[in-house]
Symmetry: C2
Subunit: 368 residues, 2 copies
Amino acid sequence: MAQQELGQWRDLAQLREEIDQLDQQLQTLLNQRAQCAQQVAQVKTATEGEDTQFYRPEREAQVLRRIMERNTGPLSNEEMARLFREVMSACLALERPIKVAYLGPEGTFTQQAALKHFGHSAICLPMAAIDEVFREVEAGSVDYGVVPIENSTEGVISHTLDSFMDSGLQISGEVVLRIHQHLLLGENTRPDKISTIYSHASSLAQCRKWIDAHYPGVERVPMPSNAEAARKVCGEWHSAAIAGDMAAQLYGLKKHAENIEDTPDNATRFLIIGRHTTPASGEDKTSLMLSMRNQPGALYQLLEVFNRHQVDMTRIESRPSRSGAWNYVFFIDCTGHQQEPRIQTMLAELGERAAEMKVLGSYPKGVL
Amino acid sequence: MAQQELGQWRDLAQLREEIDQLDQQLQTLLNQRAQCAQQVAQVKTATEGEDTQFYRPEREAQVLRRIMERNTGPLSNEEMARLFREVMSACLALERPIKVAYLGPEGTFTQQAALKHFGHSAICLPMAAIDEVFREVEAGSVDYGVVPIENSTEGVISHTLDSFMDSGLQISGEVVLRIHQHLLLGENTRPDKISTIYSHASSLAQCRKWIDAHYPGVERVPMPSNAEAARKVCGEWHSAAIAGDMAAQLYGLKKHAENIEDTPDNATRFLIIGRHTTPASGEDKTSLMLSMRNQPGALYQLLEVFNRHQVDMTRIESRPSRSGAWNYVFFIDCTGHQQEPRIQTMLAELGERAAEMKVLGSYPKGVL
C-alpha cells in the first residue's frame, strides 16, 4: 500500500514536471508569436502609414475557424477558440490596445459580447445609450462599438436599427451569445408532482408555450434571477425552476427537460460597428438597409431578387422610415460578401428597384 | 515603389505563415497540457478518492510566479500570467469546472477579482450578500467564495470580518485589484488655468489631500463615472478630470499628474474562502483572529510576540467582539505559513496570551 502510494506520487511528480516543461514551451511560443505580431505591425505601418488598421476582423475569423477545424481535444473547440482569442488580444495590445465602446452598464451581456469578441486586453468602455456608442465610434475616440441587434425576449433592438439610418458606420462583425433554458428539479422531486415553477420573468416568458403544453395548471412564480429560482428549488419537493446550465451545475439539480425555450435558437446577437470595411474571410454575411416605394408587390419584388440570385436571406426586419409617412425601411441580412461578383450583381439590381439602398457592411459570420 | 510594396507584402505573407505555424504548435501543446492535467486528476482520484481537490492554490501560485520570473517579453508579465491563468482554468474545467460564489451583482469588482483568480472557465455565481457567500461555501454548493476584505475608499469591509467570527471556513487566497488615479487634461488645457475638476465622488474623495495641496480653490464636480468626467474634459479648456489609465487612453488626455491617490497603495483586496487548508507555496501569508482580555498593555503584549519572532505583520484591524461588551477582536495578517516552525512557535505563544485565537488560513501571497 505504502509502495503503491509512493508510486502514485512519483507519477504525479512526473506529470507535474511534464506540465512545467509544456508551460515553458508554451511561454516561448507565445512570446515568439507576439514578436511576429510586432513585426507585422511594423511592416504595415511602413506601407500604410499612421492610419494603419492593426486589427483585421476577417483574418481573426479565419485563424479561429482553422483552429477549431484542426482541434483534436481534449480541450473543446469553444475553450480553444477562447484561449486563442485571448492570445490574439494580448499580441494586438502590444502595438496599441483596441478601444471599444459598448452599451453599458458594466456586467451586461453586451460587455460579455465585447470581451468575447475582442478579448480581455481590449479597452472596453460602457456607454449609457446605443446612439452614444455610434457617436464615439464616429468621432474616432474608439475603434469599434458593440451594440445588441436582436434578443430573443425583446425582439429586434430598434434603437440600433434606427441609429444605422443616420450613420455612415460599417458593420465589421457579429457576436452571438446562446442562452438555453432547462426545467430543473431537485433530486427527490417527482416531475408529476410539481405545483410551482420558479424563474425570472423573462425566462418564464421565453418558455411560455412549453409550460402551457407540459404544465398548464402549475403556478408560475417570478424570481429576481434564475439562479435564485434554482436555489429555492433545492429545498422544495413540489417545485421546479427554469434556469440555464450554470445554475443546474451549481445547485446539483436534474435537468428534467432540456432546451425548453420556445424559439429553438434562443440567443442574443450583437453587432460590431466600425469605420472601415472588412475584406472577405471566406464565410461572410452582408447587411443591407433598403427602403421601398409604397406600391403593391414592392416587398415581393425585393425578395424575388434574392431568390433569383440564390442568395440566402437570413433575416429581414421592417421599420417605419423617418423620411416619408408611408415608406418602410427593411433591414436584411444575407450570406456572402459584397466583394463577391454574385453579391455585387444582386446589389446592383436591388439598388435599381429600391427607393434607397445602403450596404451596412460585409463581415465574417460569427465564430462559435 | 511598386516593387517595394510587393516586397513588403511578401514579408507580411511570410510573417502570417510563421504565425500560423506558431499557432499550430501552441494548439498542440495546449492539448498536451490538458491531457497531462487529466492524468493528474486520474492519479489523484485513484489515491485520494471522490473528495479529491483538483484545484491547488499553492501550485497555481508557484506556476504563475515561475512564469513571470522567466518571462522575456515582448508580452508583459501581467499579460503572460493572465494567459496562463486562462490555460490552467480551461485545463481544470475539463475535469470538473470550479464553482465560485462571489458578492454580486454581476459587473462588480468582486466578479472581476473572481475571474482574475479562477479564469473564465470557472462557474461564477453572484450572491446578494457577504454572508450568503459564506453560507454557499459552507454548504458545499460551491468550491470557493470571493469576498472583498478591504477597499481604499470604504476601508475594511466589516461584514466580511464579522462573517469569519462565526465561520469555520479557511482563507485560501487573496486577489488585489490596483486602482490608480491621474489628473487628466485636454491637449490645449494649461494646468495653471484649471477652474473645475470632474470625477466620480469616490475618486474625488480618494484624491482629496492631493487636490487640497495642488488645487485648493478649484471647484470639485462629482460625475456619474470617471469615464464621463474624462469625456467632459475633452471639450473644455479650463477643467481637468480625475480618472484612471483606461479613460486617459480612450479620450487621448494628457496625464498631468500620475498616481495622485492619497493612499499610495490604492487597491481593493479580496479573499478567496474555502473549506480546505492550503499547503505552503513558498511565499505565503497567514491571517489570524485574536481576542484579548481588556487589560492594560494587552495589545502591546500581542505585538511584542510578532516582533520577537521577527514575523512581519502586514495588517491589523480591530472589531468589537460580539461575545463580551469590553472585548475587542483583532484581525491580523502576517507573512509566512502556519506549516513553518517559526510561525508555529509564534502561534503557540500568541494562543497562550490571547483569550481566543483562530487561524483563518495560510495562503499564497497574491500573484500580481
